[in-house]
């Protein structure tokens, strides 16, 4: 076992675990990549480090500088951890309706939190952060939704790790948030084997965001457009909160305690398994279950948890 010089060296190289026992089709293998094993607890550690180190090498960050970022939690947590170790200050714009554990973890790492209206979801956080960044040109605004270092972290890290560990992959399934994971891994995997299919899973976010006044308030991450996301994806599917929670619970049958978005992703992988004759599906679990204990996702009545999940942002 190696002794690491910094926690930051622990980011990436996450394990891939066979969970075919949960597959509805025994000829469709399902393997899950456990991003909750990253030191900050989620896949977002990768982009936090990538965006900050890219900004350092571009000269956009100087020692002690303040960064601002809109986040529903995980990116902020990863960035706050990296900022603490590297000596930056971080202000996050966080929708008010994220789980309390996400907020607490941001506080653990010393981030300053500015709340955006929960009813506006991540859209509201993005809008507010853009406004604050414009008012404070002295702050560094790395902006995960538009920063090429986000998909690049997956093109250089997550994608090659999957190919190294599972070259027989036929389908890649991941949640669509900023789209960074899907773009970076998807592009890398298709370069190795153009037949690999890329499936995006999303929550019915547009249903849960009540604060949208009209359709022109819609938002598409610039990295998705610039990265040719529409051409890269082979399918995109909604998984609703109830099914997400059911699959989050089912994951514990194979010893995996993962977040609610992982349940959604695995529900999508199961759908994928049903739709193919045979193949090998790799699905990404973005984080562990710890930050969602307060939702009662594993222990409370399913109807109650479903209602609760509709009121928080878990992707």
């Amino acid at each position: 076992m190696t002794a690491y010089s910094s926690v930051l060296d622990l980011i990436g190289n996450t394990p891939l675990v066979d969970i075919t026992a949960l597959s509805p089709n025994p000829d469709a293998r399902i393997l899950i990549k456990l991003e909750g094993q990253n030191p900050g607890g989620s896949v977002k550690d990768r982009i936090a480090l990538s965006m900050i180190e890219q900004a350092e090498s571009d000269g956009r960050l100087s020692p002690g500088q303040t960064l601002i970022e809109p986040t529903s939690g995980n990116t902020g947590i990863g960035m706050a951890m990296v900022c603490k170790l590297k000596g930056y200050r971080l202000t996050v714009v966080l929708p008010s309706n994220v789980s309390p554990e996400r907020r607490q973890l941001l506080e653990v790492w010393g981030a300053e939190i500015i709340e955006s209206p929960g009813a506006e979801g991540s859209n509201g956080a993005v809008k507010m952060a853009r406004g604050l960044a414009a008012d404070h040109p002295e702050w560094a605004f790395l902006y995960q939704y538009a920063n090429p270092a986000n998909p690049q972290a997956h093109y250089r890290g997550t994608g090659p790790e999957i190919w190294r560990d599972c070259p027989e992959i036929t389908h890649f399934v991941a949640g669509l948030g900023t789209s960074g994971t899907l773009l970076g891994c998807g592009r890398y995997l298709k370069e190795q084997n153009p037949d690999v299919k890329i499936w995006a899973i999303e929550p019915p976010a547009g249903e849960m965001v009540d604060g949208l006044r009209n359709l022109d308030d819609g938002y598409i991450p610039p990295i998705f457009v610039d990265g040719g996301g529409a051409e890269l994806l082979d399918g995109k599917r909604i998984v609703r909160p109830r099914e997400s929670i059911e699959w989050t619970r089912r994951l514990t049958d194979v010893g995996i305690f993962a977040g609610i978005s992982s349940g959604a992703a695995v529900a999508g992988a199961a759908k994928c398994a049903e739709s193919i004759e045979r193949g090998t599906i790799v699905v990404v679990s973005a984080d562990g279950g710890w930050k969602y204990l307060s939702t009662g996702a594993w222990t409370d009545d399913l109807d109650v948890v479903e209602k609760r999940a509709q009121e928080i942002i878990y992707f």
Binding site: N123, V126, S179, G206, E207, G218, V225, A230, R237, F315
Partner: protein, 101 residues
């Protein structure tokens, strides 16, 4: 052929506040066109003047995004459910070649 269409909060005012409506058609495009005929307020909201989907609208048949199937030509049958959702941060898509706001 009559299918159920789920409307997002932002469009319900144009359909008398209804959350679910029914519309006729054998493809997604036909369903959306007959929906706009029934509720003129929806006209131009989901399908652009040039017959393409509004850039900030995602349409799903049984939860699969039609942009990754046959878009407006995606076939529907009686038992299908069509959902219309706005594209928001954290659950986004785009038409090829368009720019975000």
């Amino acid at each position: 052929m009559s299918v159920t269409v789920h409307l997002p909060t932002v469009l319900r005012a144009h359909a008398g506040g209804a959350k679910d409506v029914t519309a006729d058609g054998t493809t997604v495009g036909e369903v959306l066109t007959s929906l706009a005929a029934e509720y003129p307020g929806l006209s131009g909201q989901v399908i652009n003047g040039d017959g393409t989907l509004h850039k900030f609208v995602n349409v799903y048949v049984n939860d699969d995004d039609v942009r990754y199937m046959s878009a407006l030509d995606t076939p529907v049958t009686d038992s299908d459910e069509v959902s219309i959702l706005p594209a928001v941060a954290g659950g986004a898509t785009d038409l090829p070649g368009t720019r975000p706001a």
